[in-house]
């Protein structure tokens, strides 16, 4: 049976995508054996599953995701963390790997306002997400700078098989961490690189639904770097 769209076509809510023997994936729903889009996004057919990739929208927590958050409230019993989502997350002493009577003693309390990178270990409709920082690469984030991008655009910042993030790490800074919730943390040793990185992230965010993005970003970085160099040269002469 034919579908009602071309791959990567922009569709709006309530648009008929296909009729008959298909399954509805993310961003679509089934009604009377017909598949409709429920959000504004790019329609994609994979096998028999039709889904719509969102262009806007909140971060919906998923077990196993790495997220970056900010401590809202801290006590020996646990911490509440803002993870830029529709629910705030919690970290408990019991979510540490260390079990037994000593786990409570090992729990390190962060101060309110401190940033951390953590993994979601439990979440469903009935309770808020629970985080852990008891893994390699997770924990407090010290120094650096944090910017927010749309959570729906995180996959483009990472790129196909990590191509985009590899490019950013090679060209700009290797101290960069991206949370699935759309918060990017990075640390550089020069303001110029930092400014370029922010500009590049904004560009990726704006043009997330277009093709050939990695190449264009590569060129933009080159251009911005040259511009910076020219400024420095002019100041020196």
């Amino acid at each position: 049976m034919p579908v009602n769209f071309e791959n990567n076509q922009i569709v709006s809510p309530g648009e008929l995508l296909a009729e008959g023997d298909y399954l509805s994936g993310e961003g679509s729903f089934k009604e009377d054996n017909k598949i409709y889009s429920s959000i504004l996004g790019l329609a994609v057919l994979k096998g028999k599953i039709i889904s719509v990739i969102p262009l806007q929208g909140p971060y919906y927590p998923k077990v196993g995701d790495i997220v970056i958050g900010k401590v809202l409230n801290s006590s020996p019993a646990g911490m509440r963390v803002d993870i830029n989502s529709l629910y705030s997350a919690a970290i408990f002493p019991s979510s540490m790997n260390e079990k037994g009577p000593r786990s409570r003693e090992k729990f390190v309390q962060f101060d309110v306002g401190e940033n951390l990178i953590a993994k979601i270990i439990s979440f469903d409709r009935t309770h808020d997400p629970i985080l852990t920082i008891d893994e390699v690469g997770l924990g407090k984030l010290v120094g650096g700078r944090i910017i927010k991008i749309h959570p729906t655009k995180v996959p483009r910042v990472i790129g196909k098989k990590g191509s985009m993030i590899k490019l950013l790490k090679e060209e700009l800074t290797d101290k960069i961490k991206i949370g699935q919730n759309g918060i990017v943390w990075f640390s550089t040793n020069s303001d110029a690189i930092e400014d370029i990185l922010v500009a590049v992230l904004r560009k990726i965010e704006r043009e997330a639904h277009t093709s050939g993005l990695t190449d264009r970003v590569k060129e933009t970085i080159k251009k911005l770097k040259e511009e910076r160099l020219n400024v420095i040269r002019r100041e020196n002469t």
Partner: protein, 264 residues
Amino acid sequence: MLFEEKIPEKLIRNDGLRLDGRKIDELRPIKFEVGVLSQADGSAYVEQGRNKIIAAVYGPRELHPKHLALQDRALLRCLYRMATFSVSERKSPAPSRREAELSTIITQALQPAIFLEYYPRTSIDVYIEIIEADGGTRCASINAASLALADAGIPLRDLVAACAVGKADGQIILDLNDLEDKYGEADMPMAMLYRRGDVTLLQMDGQFTIDEFNKALELGKTGISKIYQLQKETLRNKYLSIRDEVADESEVRIEISKEVEEDE
């Protein structure tokens, strides 16, 4: 009042057109725009005739105070507010009975369209600000709010489109303006999930015979279908325009690289 409003003797002129020059089944000129506010999760600006409306959507987000939260779905809250300068005589900034009523009916008109059950214990807040009012603001507000919801990436069963029908000088007319609303014989705002044919808002002020009512309902549907198409286009264009812009850029680049090759 600064300018004394003249009560028109006739709402439909001798040549069969209305006072503002429209045909009886013609909509006012409409302008939709989405993503107008940078701080909101979704937003829309609507001009329908002389109506000017901004709608902003925040959410789904954590609900405070917590005791309002629903355990199985999100709570939809709409606030309709008129700016003090939106009407010819200054409107008091205090919330009026009318504003509270419209907030409620707009909430009820939008609610069936949203997949609220996807986001339990949260709230979706819609703020509608009337900058300038010229009749039919509740319909234009619903159009704006529905666009803003889609712009915020909230899952919808369908877009909600709304339009008013009424009666003036014995004729059924579409999309009433302020004068026709005030001095006409009937006014019936309606909102629909157009694809499904579900009517989510139907109010009536004045009198219709049963025949006239059925005729008005049909005319309303044709008006709503036009608005619905325009809403869809507006949403798609927001992203298509960026896509085209990028495509233009890459074309320019290809041309440059060709020139370089020729030079060599």
